[in-house]
Symmetry: C2
Subunit: 341 residues, 2 copies
């Protein structure tokens, strides 16, 4: 059933029915109720496409997921972030659209999305250092929000991020205070902005304590379980293995633990481990006592907040830039302890 039919049923004009349904004031309250009742009865839903055409707003937010032929990795935080965002979108009447694009043609994908009028705004996930996509979107003058930030991008833009530097600085400090001197960093790909900032925090803490960074203890790659295992195993075979490991992801930390177990080392005694915990729903960090000492920040909440900010931006395109820096909490679990002598 469409507007025309509904209005004929009611003996009203399309104008009036449309207005009644969209809450405009120039319609008698009694009429409005009659219209709403009829709409509910016939299950009338305005056609999205016609509405989009007429209003010029799509009420859709786009997310572009990069697919690369090389690393077929799906970011494990994807699901939780999206779940958070989706809820906020739904509350505000927005739909959520995903586009897939080759790594190389992401810019084209964004351009396409907007030129087609398919979306009112986009969320940019996983920014790299000097992220070119940010400049593209800025130049296009479209509403967008970055989940994360991008070192090196000077033009202002909306973002929401965790204070990665501070949280890793604190975590490193915590280990230093426990007497650790050989602290490893198992980090994400360091062209990713978050990974760079974490390394910066790690290095800052070492520096502050007068410790020289040890290159062989700093690893960087995509954060899978296997990667955590592989690097840990490798480092344990060094002449001077680390007494503590800082790990950028809970999933990799699982691999770290596996490597320690295989080597017969006790986590929290022989080797201390701190992980970053995105508070993923399927990988909670224990129940009462945390398994890992961790820097924790809910990525789901970040999704909710990012969505909220983007919707604000869409409604007020010329407001000054909005940013939000979340602090991760340092939760102390069983995986850390004083350095062995």
């Amino acid at each position: 059933m469409n507007l025309k039919q509904l209005s004929e049923t009611l003996g009203l004009s399309q104008t009036t029915v449309s207005r009644a349904l969209n809450g405009y004031p120039e319609v008698k309250e009694e009429t409005r109720e009659r219209v709403q009742a009829a709409a509910a009865k016939h299950g009338y839903r305005p056609n999205s496409w016609a509405k989009g055409l007429a209003t010029g707003r799509s009420m859709v937010i786009g997310h572009v997921i990069p697919s690369s032929s090389q690393h077929e990795m799906v970011n494990p935080i994807f699901g939780d972030f999206v779940a958070g965002a989706a809820k906020t979108y739904a509350d505000h009447g927005y739909d959520m659209m995903f586009s897939n694009a080759e790594d190389t043609s992401i810019e084209k994908a964004y351009r396409n999305l907007f030129q087609r009028g398919a979306v009112d705004g986009v969320v940019l996930q996983g920014p790299k250092v000097n992220e070119p996509r940010i400049e593209v979107l800025t130049r296009m003058g479209v509403p967008f929000i970055v989940h994360g930030r991008s070192t090196g991008v000077t033009s202002p833009y909306d973002w929401i991020d965790v204070n990665n530097k501070r949280s890793f600085q604190r975590a490193t400090q915590f280990l230093i205070d426990l007497g650790h001197r050989r602290i490893a960093l198992i980090n994400g790909l360091e062209d990713m902005d978050f990974a760079k900032r974490r390394r910066d925090g790690y290095l800052a803490a070492l520096n502050e304590a007068g410790l020289e960074p040890i290159p062989s203890l700093m690893r960087s790659a995509e954060m899978t379980e296997v990667y955590g295992h592989h690097e840990t195993r490798g480092m344990l075979q060094l002449d001077h293995p680390p007494t503590a490991i800082l790990c950028s992801s809970m999933i990799s930390a699982v691999g770290v633990r596996r490597a320690l177990d295989e080597a017969g080392l006790r986590m929290g005694q022989d080797v201390s481990v701190i992980a970053h915990d995105d508070d993923l729903s399927y990988l909670k960090n224990g129940q009462d006592v945390p398994i890992f000492t961790a820097t924790r920040s809910s990525v789901r909440m970040a999704g909710e907040l990012a969505a909220e900010m983007l919707i604000n931006r869409i409604q007020a395109p010329s407001e000054p830039v909005m940013t939000q820096l979340l602090e991760a909490e340092l939760v102390v679990g069983r995986s850390t302890g004083p350095a062995p002598n």
Copy 2:
């Protein structure tokens, strides 16, 4: 730039330009090239909404993600499944839309999506036993595909599923052949169809071997890491603990391993473990030698295939029902071994 402007630029009618761009035959090849060149030059993209309105097809596929206030769980396979599907959609010119809906109002969400004309078809994920959504969609007469199946639903419908029963039957048999008699099952929520089928397979194998199922060794809940740990820990405290554990998810299996480690038990020697492996990109089952003996089936590939099937269905609504049953492979890793005596 829109069609009208583009056609004026070219000195052609909108009709001709539209046809040239959409590959209709009744346009001179030379003209077509001229049009395409101009379109590319001006970065013309037909407006999605206008196109949708005019054609009646939305070129969008919907996915509804249930959000429940009780269990805030995001299915960890979500990301990989979606990544697979998104790729196929993109190849066929479809977009992908997500809607969020309360557990209780999912039916309404589907109805809404179609009545608004927002989607041409939907993917139904995570079907339960006697899944009511299937009947709803069938009655609505809309294209959809189920990832999984639903025991108890008698009307025919398109689905793609892993042979869960057989794979768990084989896995159980494998353990029995190794001499295990007390085999635990750490399963998903058993109102989920996949979990029911896995239990059926497990029970069938026990039955075939003349073994009595032991209720205290059969657990069922949402498959988190913590859950795997908790149940394993509980079962190890029984008077007669299991010598082998069958686990419905790699993530829970990580928890299982943690519990075994804590108890000082060696996986594959003291206790054997088999997990179901969805081949998630961030949680690969080892590199050369698998960590876990596992029943493996790529959920990403399932996403690709599901998308393909749905697109076929959309293009041929009245074709007979299509189904696809994937066999999981049983990969043997280090986590299984002969039963201790």
